[in-house]
């Protein structure tokens, strides 16, 4: 090929590839625009005042298409599929208890997006904001509403970096003391202090404002750990536990367990662990669950599964009986006053 024909081939290549790239972007843009319009047959969403201390309401991130997508919405506590009141506060992850809310939000900047954790009061006004080092994944508020925790994924910026790690922070909303990284707590497994470099901690669930449970991973094993904020310790109680969620009476942990023989693409099942006997009970949900479940009351679990709008909320009894059923579609990150 001579120089001219090479340039012609390059020009044709640029035009073809450019057309594909522009086409793909326009297609995605059109899809994004559709998501901003309410879907026929979708849930009724109206803007309005939302109060986190309203005992007759439950809250979640509205995933339904329309102008209020991603906003925290209130629904009747007894009928989650009922009309949604949108608060105007957009969150990727959310949790609330006793009138305190934690919202992990995206901040759209000029040159890049970043993330913040926002502590909300009962009227969903921001009290404080904290910059985050990565992508939000879990958020929890203690039963008293005083302490909040969040987990983000931090990724290395190396070429095609595949080394992800988590960073979990715990914040006292009265003194505003922040424990920025729970990996600095002393981790013990079987009574031995663990000194390896690969510790990751995620998925805090609070017992009270001092004690909590979480997942700690090291050496390829995940552990349920009991954390103490005063002593700054994490003590492993049980292995193969991820994303724990403590029952309202503090006796059981709902969690996702990596089960043997499962499809490696979908390895987690929803289990409940009795903290006294350490006996594991499989729930009636046999599909893969990748969520930190929430207790709706002392015997019912609520969790997210992928749905047509990103996520639906499902429910199953905690004692291993019964079958799962769809609670509400197009919803994520629920919070119930219990």
């Amino acid at each position: 090929m001579n120089r001219t024909s090479r340039l012609v081939v390059l020009l044709v290549t640029v035009v073809v590839l450019g057309a594909v790239a522009v086409g793909a972007t326009l297609h995605a843009a059109g899809r994004a625009a559709r998501k901003d319009r309410a879907q026929a047959g979708g849930p009724a969403v109206t803007p309005g005042a939302v109060r986190l201390d309203d005992p007759h309401r439950a809250f979640f991130r509205n995933m339904a298409w329309g102008p209020h997508r991603d906003e925290i919405t209130a629904v009747p506590a007894g009928r989650l599929s009922g009309p949604r009141t949108a608060s105007g506060v957009r969150c990727l992850r959310f949790h609330a208890a006793a009138g305190t809310g934690i919202c992990l939000e995206a901040v759209h900047g000029e040159l890049r997006d970043s993330y913040r954790a926002v502590v909300l009061d009962r009227r969903l006004h921001a009290l404080r904001r904290y910059d985050l080092a990565g992508t939000p994944t879990r958020a929890r508020v203690s039963p008293s509403g005083r302490t909040v925790a969040w987990t983000v994924f931090v990724s290395g910026d190396s070429y095609a970096g595949t080394a992800f790690s988590t960073r979990t922070s715990v914040l006292d909303t009265r003194s505003w003391h922040l424990d920025a990284n729970l990996e600095t707590y002393a981790l013990t497994v079987d009574g031995h202090r663990v000194h390896t470099a690969d510790i990751n901690v995620w998925g805090v669930t609070f017992a009270d404002d001092t004690h909590f449970y979480a997942t700690a991973a090291t050496g390829g094993t995940t552990y349920l750990v009991r954390g103490d904020r005063t002593a700054r310790t994490l003590r492993a109680l049980h292995s193969n536990v991820e994303c724990p969620s403590l029952s309202p009476d503090g006796t059981r942990i709902a969690y996702k367990k990596r089960v043997r023989g499962a499809d490696p693409d979908a390895p987690w099942r929803l289990y409940v662990l009795d903290l006294r006997s350490l006996r594991e009970t499989a729930t009636g949900e046999h599909r893969n669950v990748d969520d930190q479940a929430v207790w709706r009351d002392g015997h019912t679990l609520v969790y997210s599964l992928p749905g047509d709008f990103g996520s639906d909320l499902w429910t199953v009894p905690a004692d291993g009986t019964g079958a799962p059923h769809l609670l509400v579609s197009a919803a994520l990150a629920p919070a119930f006053d219990r």
Partner: protein, 429 residues
Amino acid sequence: MYLADRRATPAAAVSGARPGRPPRAAVPATVLVLGTVSLITDISSEMVTAVLPLYLVAELGLSPLGFGLLDGVYNGVSALVRLIGGRASDRGRGGGHKTVAALGYGLSALCKPLLLMVHTLPLIGAVLAADRTGKGLRTAPRDALISLSCEPATRGRAFGVHRAMDTAGALLGPLVAFLVLRAAADGYDAVFTVSGCVAALGVAVLLLFVPGRARTSVTPRPDTAARPTVGSLLRRPAVRRLTGCAVLLGLTTVSDSFLYLTLQRRLGLSEAWFPLLPLGTAAAFLLLAVPLGALADRIGRRRLFLLGHLALLAAYGLLLAPLGGSTVLTCLVLALHGGFYASTDGVLAAATADAVPEEVRGSGLAVVQTGQAAARFGCSLAFGAAWTAWGDRWALGLATGGLALAAALSARLLRRVPAPAVPLSEPVT
């Protein structure tokens, strides 16, 4: 073989820099083309890297934690592929470099549309591993092509130009991804498609404009008998010493992510600054790569390679010193870090080219680069362990001491190599 080396100087370089002409000759077209290919390819790959965490967590709702566990395996596979790629590229009487490099770029380009089709962690991990394999495959033959297409006297600058273009692409990639996401909210599929198109363009530029045979002037040699093996490569004192130094210094080169973590902790930076730190290093690398490459041509590549590690040593020192946190200090550390890359990354390739005959250029580059990469991976493991056991200050203190020692040893080792990189005085073989 020395004579063969000289005779084999590629046509492009000969026409660009005739004997007697000063070393400030124009950068050969092939180097600019390869720089363009790298720039385009880095835009493509950094687009994906920038959005991947968000895509996994926000779009797919996956927990990407398991990823880190396989890192060691990937690194091992990548090292092996790099060696094989370097070795294979030396075959084919000069056409092999382009072929293997094109395979590597092509494999990475194919991985982008594949990302659209896989939605589970193991498969995404496999695609990323294939992407990385492509990078491992292409690095050594590409650097061989650069070294073969320019006059030995200006190799440092040529590699500097290439690395600057490469880094410019890495800086542009996240920006392009952001613009796509700005145009189409949650348009990750669009990001991957655009990334795939950009990568394909890179392959097209490579195939169309990089000459197939760098050594057109060489009369075909009887192939297998003359070509030294990797073993005999390492028996050459110059190669052995250079590899030894790269490994020694690599063992005390703290990985970027650990350096940024230390920086953030020691200087008390807010979390929001964290994602910007690599940009600081890249900006300094971009600005300094060409001038420092040219400096390497003047004062000697091995010398600058060592001096670059002293810049890194200075950065460690600033982090250890009780200076408190300030923006100026952060910028200074990042400038030193970028300067370290600018005076070691392309410069090591140029120094390797000085020591390795053309017939095994790809293999030689692969050996040195693999040694360095493996040593740095080992350093990451050791640094992580030291960090957990004794804290960041001690870990960095140990790395600083180790680096000072390694630099001193390397200075002794490299001084004994005859004839530093003065123009036209390659080590006689």
